[in-house]
Symmetry: C2
Subunit: 396 residues, 2 copies
């Protein structure tokens, strides 16, 4: 038996694992210091009441023969797909429920969707990036090129004359930079894809954080996108489902390559390789899209965004440059004194007992930056910003 | 963008989809007839009390900030892996928890595990087979060879002089035939794999149905298996988790190919492509392995097996040959009067309003057989066997 050689093209350890290892080691040697993590983008607020109530009800259903459910549809329960259809309709995007596929989160979906495409394609990834895009493309044997994000293009690069690719990963609001593509910038990508027979994989996992009315929350707000894009979304950050696992992808009926409807190919893939998502999870997810669920989750998102505001303002006050759109749970901050990412990470950990995510962990264009997350507890976030005030004391 | 050409090597529709379509059409034109399904292998008994109670408790945990859980470990919660380790220990199989990986069911796991292996390998599949093995191997671009199961080898083929393969899918107790490999027969496969540098992917999804003390429930009961096998298991049939989704795979630390520990490669794959399973599901799964959960689920399994016994005896009574091990939820029956599978399927549907699974749907070696499932309701199963008595009336 021969192994898949692509595994040996993967780089060193997964970013978050490295961060946790460093933090654990520090904690061990400094047990009395209180570490505050603004690092990993994990939710901390409990599931909202609407979701809890729906899940309890569905657990009870599973306890009785008359209401017990076995295998569900591979593409997801109809009630949930109808709820998502309505959710899009509010934003004037018309979808049929056969264009919506339920899954267990965007993390897995962004990787599985690659199976549709020949390994002989070139994938474009925005740099810096959520690291999994790179690793899954390596494992799929794809050639990778990068579009560099930087202060100049406000971390929202668009295609240029030299761009040559078949698959385009876009993430907006962006992880790690927090930048959000405008309609105009996204239109450039859609035009590129339509002209060059490319497909856009649009990761909208943070769409619920967009409150500015003039910014797109879905690629399908752009004319022509239904002919070149797949949207990948998740309830992880929208409704605190990181530990529950539910997401969905939208594959428009009009998306056709080599005379094949991509929607149909994906349906065939799902019925072969997937057995659907937990009924209990899907009932919980359905509740997210009710009026009650939307209201309750909006409050949670505002709580996280207020954390982001607090972090951002405290950094600006001490003269640190940040990329902060106010439409994302993240602040992307430039390291002071031209420090590199890991050096500033180490400084914050060893001097201030604060964990952040080093920008370099998200790709070469993230060097010299750190990512700070608004997903923490309010009091701890405030305590962290108090510690930030000491940065200038140490560094000048 | 170029599509993955392997999609176009897939054969016609998925078996169960075709069965459902035929049944729906018949129901539409015969709305007054009561159809009984002995077809799809889906569970019908509710989740046991221990599982329900554990899941309710964990939903409540998710509703409070102090006990809320975000991202879990990609390899699964420790408490569940410890429970599974103990479950194996009862059968004198020693595992470390790092050898156990939790997932959302065997269906997806049997496909994902293929990613470890180069597409240039040859996969051996027992014919007839659970259809997904074939489709996922085609999608992975693997060459496929078959080991034919038949009445002569009691549907438990072993390698012969001409067998040449790198990856071996075995399923015991078998879906669709219900046959169970003996220790001696499995030893032949283990010896083959060790000698030929092959890997065995052992699907033990039905292990809980084995009550005969002298039959293996795990490949790791065979000496040497830890150096050549991966075990894939599921709670779908063991504990009625078809609509909840939970399974696990065991990759022994000693499993090494090309100087690489397969366990480590899989861990790298999981941290890249997976975000773990629902905490609520994992708490439910943990309860399956408690004494209470084991007792309650044993009763359910005995209920299904009693259905199998009823089906099997009624068919034998009218002179139909069956492969029935009494250690599986299925009966594999020879079609009378040399009918082919779909012809007998149509006969049973149109004359007796009974749905079964045609053997040919599981591969060429299944031609001339049908699969009947014990997962139904007792009264409906008895009603079906009463209708069976008319088979000879119609066919002679």
């Amino acid at each position: 038996m021969k192994l898949n050689k692509n595994f040996f093209n993967l780089h060193d350890d997964y970013l978050f694992y490295k961060i946790i290892s460093k933090a654990k080691e520090f904690e061990k040697t400094n047990p009395k210091l209180k570490i505050i993590s603004l690092g990993i983008g994990d939710t901390t607020m409990p599931l909202c009441r609407a979701v809890i109530s729906a899940m309890k009800k569905s657990v009870t259903e599973m306890s009785k023969k008359e209401t017990y459910r076995g295998y569900g549809l591979e593409q997801g329960c109809k009630f949930l797909r109808f709820a998502i259809k309505k959710y899009y309709k509010k934003r004037e995007i018309d979808l049929s429920i056969s264009e919506i596929f339920i899954n267990d989160g965007a993390g897995r979906a962004i990787s599985e969707i690659q199976e549709l495409f020949d390994s002989n394609n070139t994938t474009l990834i925005v740099n810096p990036t959520y690291p999994a895009y790179v690793d899954i493309s390596i494992l799929a044997g794809k050639k990778i090129i990068f579009a560099n994000a930087n202060q100049k293009n406000l971390f929202s690069p668009t295609p240029n004359k030299n761009t040559k690719c078949d698959i385009i990963y876009l993430c907006s609001p962006n992880n790690p930079t927090g930048s959000v593509y405008t309609h105009e910038a996204l239109k450039k990508w859609v035009n590129y894809a339509l002209k060059n027979n490319a497909v856009i994989l649009f990761d909208a996992a943070y769409e619920a954080f967009v409150s500015s009315k003039n910014l797109p929350r879905s690629i399908f707000e752009i004319d022509g996108a239904k002919k070149c894009a797949i949207e990948i979304c998740s309830l992880s950050k929208t409704a605190g489902f990181t530990g529950v696992r539910c997401g969905y992808i939208v594959i428009p009926d009009k998306l056709i390559f080599e005379n094949h409807k991509i929607n149909k190919l994906w349906m065939r893939r799902q019925t072969t390789k997937y057995n659907g998502l937990s009924y209990i999870t899907q009932r919980g997810a359905e509740a997210v899209f009710t009026n009650e669920g939307q209201k309750q989750n909006k409050k949670i998102i505002e709580y996280y965004k207020e954390n982001v505001k607090i972090i951002n303002e405290s950094l600006k006050k001490i003269g640190i440059w940040t990329c902060c759109s106010n439409n994302s749970p993240y602040v992307f901050a430039k390291c002071p004194n031209n420090m590199n990412s890991w050096k500033f990470f180490d400084f914050l950990l060893y001097k201030l007992s604060i964990i952040v995510s080093p920008g370099i962990g998200f790709g070469s264009a993230g060097e010299g930056f750190i990512r700070l997350s608004g997903f923490g507890d309010r009091n701890k976030t405030i305590e962290a910003t108090k510690r930030f005030e000491k940065i200038r004391e140490f560094l000048g």
